[in-house]
């Protein structure tokens, strides 16, 4: 990487930052990135709205579920932070019955909406295709039958 501080390029600092980034990569705390074919970043590759919408609809259907699994609760340093983090993690488990019930309801709604978006997309695509075909037929008919005055 290249870095400029207050208008001056700093090669040494750039190397220091690259080394720091390498330590992050090797440190085992990397974010959990999805595979490229499942990531939202795939949408950047779309070259038309049609392609974007098709990819979006596919990605949306993969994301309907609310994740209720255990997760790392961020903890502040010191005994109070440790205690607060432990209580939060415990509460998540104790209240699992409640939040899973709500997650089920939310997942159902999400899946129904995602399906509705896909229905709508397919219907519009079919209708647009049909209209295009009819316009082409009309243009062809007008072209071959013209000139009779």
């Amino acid at each position: 990487m290249r870095i400029w501080i207050e208008g001056e390029e700093r090669d040494g600092l750039g190397a220091e930052i690259a080394a720091g980034a390498r330590r992050l990569r090797e440190g085992g705390s990397a974010p959990r990135f999805l595979a490229p074919q499942h990531s939202a970043l795939l949408l950047r590759e779309a070259v038309s709205e049609e392609e974007y919408d098709r990819t979006y609809s596919r990605l949306l259907q993969m994301r309907c579920g609310v994740d209720t699994g255990d997760f790392n609760v961020p903890r502040r340093k010191g005994p109070a932070g440790m205690l607060a983090g432990w209580v939060r993690a415990l509460l998540w488990r104790v209240l699992r019955y409640q939040h899973e019930r709500m997650a089920l309801q939310q997942n159902t709604i999400n899946e129904l909406i995602a399906a509705a978006v896909e229905f709508e997309r397919q219907r519009r695509r079919r209708e647009t295709g049909e209209l295009r075909r009819r316009i082409e037929q009309l243009e062809k008919a007008a072209g071959s039958g013209g000139g009779t005055g």
Binding site: W4, I5, L24, L34, A46
Partner: protein, 359 residues
């Protein structure tokens, strides 16, 4: 006294080009000229309609002795008004985002941007003078149109807009002891906000989980792009990416008040006034060395290029925690702002408009 009016493609609160037009109008009026802003009613925001400080494009009727300034940034009926007027013409080039950035997200906007670029040579060729808001823009304009003389006039920082009391509720919302990284700008593809989200994912997972990325800017312009950003933040389980949408001046003041570092990874900017706004608010800035941003940053702030997301995360951490670096950045930012606020806008505009006989 000669009339010096301005035409814009659109007019809205918080829009950089609109803000510059307002400053120019106010300076011209102080200089004794009659000056109005004309905008396309279709693209004039409701807040401006209510304020009534503009007129519809169709009402522009400048004569031979008048001067018309056209802020060129996208395809608009304003181009026809500019080409058809009898008034003397000045074109101010604010840059046109290359259409490729919008393809797939909004094909209509992409088409408009391509059209704006194709009509630029005619508009520049018809102008009696051409200005640009940065050397970067001036260079691009010369390459695209072949015009010879382009005068560079960096956009002024409107400090009155920033000197407002911060929104107390927003200040409270952004509290909580988290390190706040702030981005200000519309959520549009060329600003590469996804690069900030990826860097923030590294920062919050591998460096400091007690942090927040605040994205202060409307996501309405390109909804598909905003949807992609929200999907990305969701899949990375980043609860602390805050989509603040459009913020009022007092909301913006609150964002700056709570920000530890201002950061942008934009790849295409004509200038980028929010960098100066952040410096004015005493917030260190990190920007990609792209477009006109090195000119806006000047000898203050951090510029980065050719970086991976985790490298930007390390730079963000350094800017947030390194006391010596922060002190140096704040001092250089203050000097940059002193130079900016010390500008004599009446003298600058007077010099630019002297060939038109405007005192």
């Amino acid at each position: 006294m000669r009339r010096v009016d301005q035409i814009l493609a659109g007019y809205a609160e918080g829009d950089a080009v609109s803000g510059i037009a307002v400053v120019i109008r106010d300076v011209l009026r102080r200089m004794g000229s009659s000056s109005e802003i004309f905008s396309d009613p279709e693209r004039t925001a409701a807040d401006r309609v209510a304020a009534g400080d503009w007129r519809p494009l169709g009402e522009y009727d400048g004569g031979r002795d008048d001067v018309l300034i056209y802020h060129y940034s996208s395809e608009s009926p304003a181009t026809d008004v500019f080409l058809g007027t009898r008034a003397r013409r000045i074109l101010v080039y604010h840059n046109i985002t290359p259409a490729e950035w919008y393809r797939g997200y909004d094909d209509r906007i992409a088409g408009e941007l391509a059209e704006a670029r194709s009509r630029l040579p005619a508009a520049a060729g018809a102008a009696d003078a051409v200005w640009a808001v940065s050397d970067y823009n001036a260079g691009e304009l010369r390459r695209m149109t072949g015009v010879g003389e382009v005068r560079v006039w960096p956009p002024p920082l409107d400090t009155a807009r920033l000197d407002v009391a911060p929104d107390a509720a927003e200040v409270e919302k952004l509290a909580g002891g988290l390190v706040n990284f702030l981005f200000v700008g519309r959520l549009v593809p060329n600003k590469c906000v996804e690069d900030l989200i990826l860097a923030f994912a590294w920062y919050t997972r591998a460096i400091n989980p007690h942090a927040r990325l605040v994205l202060a800017g409307s996501g309405k312009a390109v909804p598909r792009y905003t949807a992609m950003l929200r999907m990305l933040a969701g899949e990375l389980k980043l609860e602390n990416v805050c989509f603040e949408r459009f913020v009022s001046p007092s909301g913006l003041a609150a964002c700056y008040r709570r920000a530890r570092v201002f950061v942008t990874a934009s790849r295409h900017e004509g200038y980028c006034l929010p960098l100066l706004e952040a410096m004015y608010a005493g917030v260190p800035v990190i920007a990609r060395a792209a477009g006109g941003m090195p000119e806006a940053v000047g000898s203050a702030g951090i510029l980065v290029d050719d970086f991976e997301a985790e490298e930007l995360a390390v730079v963000m951490d350094k800017a947030a925690r390194d006391g010596d670096l922060r002190r140096a950045l704040l001092a250089s930012g203050k000097a940059r702002i002193a130079a900016e606020t010390g500008r004599d806008l009446e003298k600058e505009l007077g010099s630019l408009l002297a060939p038109f006989g405007v005192v």
